[in-house]
């Protein structure tokens, strides 16, 4: 079980909202959905692949069969899922330092939400309400969100360039190649395995690799 897959961290947070207040959050999310500029801080942080907020009304938990007892809850609940780069601390910290007002907006009216500043109570609130991921899959563990975005830009430019120089002579080629490099000069970061975000996670991973190797060796010997 791990919250980490390569460079991405899977955070799951569930928090109660008084059911008669949930409309406030729905309204805030609707406004944010319609006005992307409200998310400018999040976009600039650039740490997130994909994230979502889901409000579940207290009577709307999926009920599939009479044999399943119906939920009887006092509160409605808000689920937050994020796929982000960096460590848990860095992520939560950067939210608090950079976009505290935005966070307060999204978690408004959640029961006992302590506001995003000061830091430690906010840390504690997220930790308290966080559920660990049992299986996490990332299609590109070696790539951060920045890498995916810059790769898209580079691919587009590279293909256009290749088309443009198919029939060019060497001198024209060189000039256009230099122009290409200038255009993609911000897309050229290397993609090596992620920095260790947690010695604990690293130890678990090392044991997993060792076990996998032992299994392979055993199979090889048979």
């Amino acid at each position: 079980m791990s919250n980490i897959a390569g460079k991405a961290y899977a955070m799951n947070v569930i928090t109660p909202i008084r059911w008669y207040m949930a409309w406030i959050n729905r309204l805030i999310f609707l406004i944010a959905y319609r006005t992307p500029s409200t998310l400018r801080g999040l976009i600039t942080l650039s740490l997130i692949h994909y994230a979502r907020w889901v409000i579940i009304d207290r009577w709307k938990f999926p009920h599939l069969d009479p044999s399943q007892p119906k939920e009887d809850l006092h509160y409605s609940y808000m689920l937050f899922f994020s796929n982000f780069n960096g460590s848990w601390d860095q992520y939560v910290d950067s939210f608090t330092f950079a976009i505290p007002a935005g966070l307060d907006l999204f978690w408004k009216k959640n029961v006992r939400y302590p506001k995003s500043v000061p830091l430690t109570p906010f840390h504690d609130y997220i930790r308290h309400n966080q559920i660990d991921t049992d299986h996490y899959y990332n299609a590109y563990p070696l790539a951060s969100s920045n890498d995916v975005k810059s790769a898209k830009h580079l691919k587009k430019k590279l293909i256009a360039f290749e088309r443009a120089v198919r029939d060019a002579g060497p001198e024209e080629f060189l000039t256009k190649y230099h122009a290409l490099l200038v255009e993609v000069q911000y897309d050229l970061g290397d993609m090596q395995p992620a920095p260790i975000v947690s010695l604990a996670a690293q130890a678990v991973d090392a044991r997993r690799l060792l076990d996998a190797q032992r299994l392979l060796d055993a199979q090889g010997r048979r």
């Binding site: 330092f97 000061p118 911000y186 290397d190």
Partner: protein, 519 residues
């Protein structure tokens, strides 16, 4: 300034970088405590001579005359344990401090040539390193006197206290020396001197060091020094950083007291220190410049400036001086200000700048831009964050070290020379370790993937499978493509170090008296 600090309670090396205040020499040595009682007695005696942060000079402004050789003391987690600190206090220290720097090698990137197995012998038995003593020294006015006279006097005094403990406190040996010895009793450090014997504020790669040291609330320093060193405000000005980023027991940038071990009197006015001995491969660095200078289509010194963010000769920020022509102009004004003893202008020229978003002037991966982005992580999206420097403000560290050794053979990387890197902060993990791991050995935050800092990064074999590179960005108008500085060899190797706690004077007296009690 909203804060008045209790200067007599704070150890002097926190408030002042002694090297800037006329103390070109330093000696660092480390002790093991074998017996708690002797250890506490020893601490009590030393504490009487520990230098605090009070002002120096004649009254009314000064409290004491300027000391010849300030002494300061710090402890590792194991050292505090040996001194008998109660478990409840020990448990309140952060995890990384308790583990010590050696155990954090994967986080810090201390692999290959920097791996702990290659560190100086004194660091090999990590559990034995308990106490760090630092003596900084003026050099005598009279040229005939040995330069280390005052350092030696203070050192002999401390040694006599160690001897008096009858084995209760012992000096650890095992520092590497100039002649290949590996068993020296201390680590000396010193500012570098130029050929005429004048002091230079440089390190061995030739760069002027320590210009950007942070300024915080309550620190006694000229107001103009806040520019470029504090934190950015929304309006584009500079303000002092909160004290709690550097001193425990005071509010920090997150509007709270930094987590600290109980009781309050143990931690207040103290801080954590990262001590790292960094060997510099000067020959490799010069060869790197040689290899690239030609094709960089700039001059060698311009290339060196691009890697660091400042020109080697006088620290001119490349953000203002991106080419030889602008540098020449800058130099004229700079030296004129020096000649006129106009400190404000000199300082402003060195410290007052922001980085250009596109990196044409100062590359995005340049050293000083990595360690203090000065608001460039807002990527020009004015107003996206609380303040432009919101992501920088809690990642600053106070620099208190000095270079050590002298380059004897410029053609070989071997030798005994480098920097004693000392970083002071209230959270080793959030400040020093974060910068080291996320901004020096990685660059996702500045959108440069896994690219590492040229000077400090833990580069892998340049002829191996994944050599390091740095992109120096090109202005489209220049007609030139971006230049890649590739096959970067490892230029800095860790030779040892650990994490220490620098207590306040109150805490020292309590530790010495065995009176620490968090009940």
């Amino acid at each position: 300034m909203t804060q008045q600090l209790d200067l007599p309670d704070i150890q002097g090396n926190i408030i002042r970088a002694y090297g800037r205040f006329g103390f070109p020499k330093a000696r660092f040595f480390f002790l093991k405590i074998n017996d708690g009682d002797s250890g506490r007695d020893f601490v009590g005696t030393i504490t009487k001579r520990v230098t605090t942060s009070v002002s120096w000079g004649p009254p009314p402004k000064g409290v004491i005359p300027k000391p010849k050789a300030p002494i300061n003391i710090a402890f590792t987690y194991n050292g505090l344990k040996a001194l008998g600190l109660p478990r409840a206090s020990l448990a309140g220290f952060p995890e990384e401090f308790a583990m010590g720097m050696k155990a954090r090698k994967e986080i810090l990137g201390d692999d290959g040539p920097s791996a702990p197995e290659r560190w100086d012998k004194v660091w090999q038995k990590h559990e034995d390193v308990h106490v760090a003593l630092a003596i900084n020294g003026q050099t005598p006015e009279e040229k005939e006197q040995p330069p280390l006279k005052y350092v030696e006097e203070a050192y002999q005094w401390v040694m006599s206290q160690i001897d008096a403990s009858g084995g209760g406190v012992v000096l650890l040996t095992g520092h590497r020396g100039d002649e290949g010895q590996d068993d020296l009793p201390f680590q000396d450090a010193s500012l570098l001197y130029d050929k005429s014997g004048n002091i230079m504020a440089k390190e061995h790669f030739g760069y002027t060091d320590g210009i950007g040291d942070p300024v915080f609330e309550g620190q006694i320093t000229e107001e103009y020094r806040v520019v470029g060193r504090g934190k950015l405000t929304r309006e584009g000005g500079w303000a002092r950083l909160e004290t709690g980023e550097f001193l425990l027991g005071h509010p920090d940038e997150a509007h709270e007291y930094p987590p600290a071990p109980p009781p309050t009197l143990l931690s207040r006015n103290g801080t954590f220190m990262v001590y790292r001995k960094l060997h510099q491969n000067v020959a490799s660095f010069e060869r790197l410049l040689d290899a690239h200078a030609e094709s960089f289509s700039g001059d060698r010194e311009l290339l060196a400036a691009k890697l660091s963010g400042r020109w080697r000769d006088n620290g001119a920020p490349i953000a203002h001086t991106p080419d030889a022509a602008s540098k020449a102009e800058w130099d004229k004004l700079f030296y004129a200000a020096i000649a006129a003893k106009d400190e404000r202008t000199v300082d402003k020229m060195l410290a007052d700048f922001r980085f250009d978003l596109m990196g044409y002037k100062c590359p995005i991966g340049a050293h000083i831009r990595r360690i203090n982005p000065r608001g460039s992580l807002e990527f020009g999206q004015d107003g996206a964050y609380n303040t432009p420097g919101a992501l920088d403000d809690r990642r600053r560290i106070l620099r208190r070290g000095l270079p050590y050794g002298v380059v004897r053979d410029p053609v070989s990387d071997d030798g005994n020379h480098g920097v004693i890197f000392m970083a002071l902060n209230t959270s080793i993990e959030r400040q020093f370790e974060f910068v080291q791991q996320q901004w020096i050995n990685y660059a996702n935050d500045s959108k440069e993937g896994s690219d590492k800092d040229v000077l400090l990064g833990n580069h892998s074999d340049p002829n191996g499978a994944c050599p390091s590179k740095m992109v120096t960005h090109a202005d489209p108008k220049s007609g030139r493509p971006p230049y890649f500085v590739n096959k970067i060899p490892r230029l800095v190797e860790t030779r040892g170090g650990d994490y220490f706690f620098i207590p306040s004077m109150t805490a020292l007296r309590m530790i010495a008296g065995g009176k620490v009690d968090p009940t």
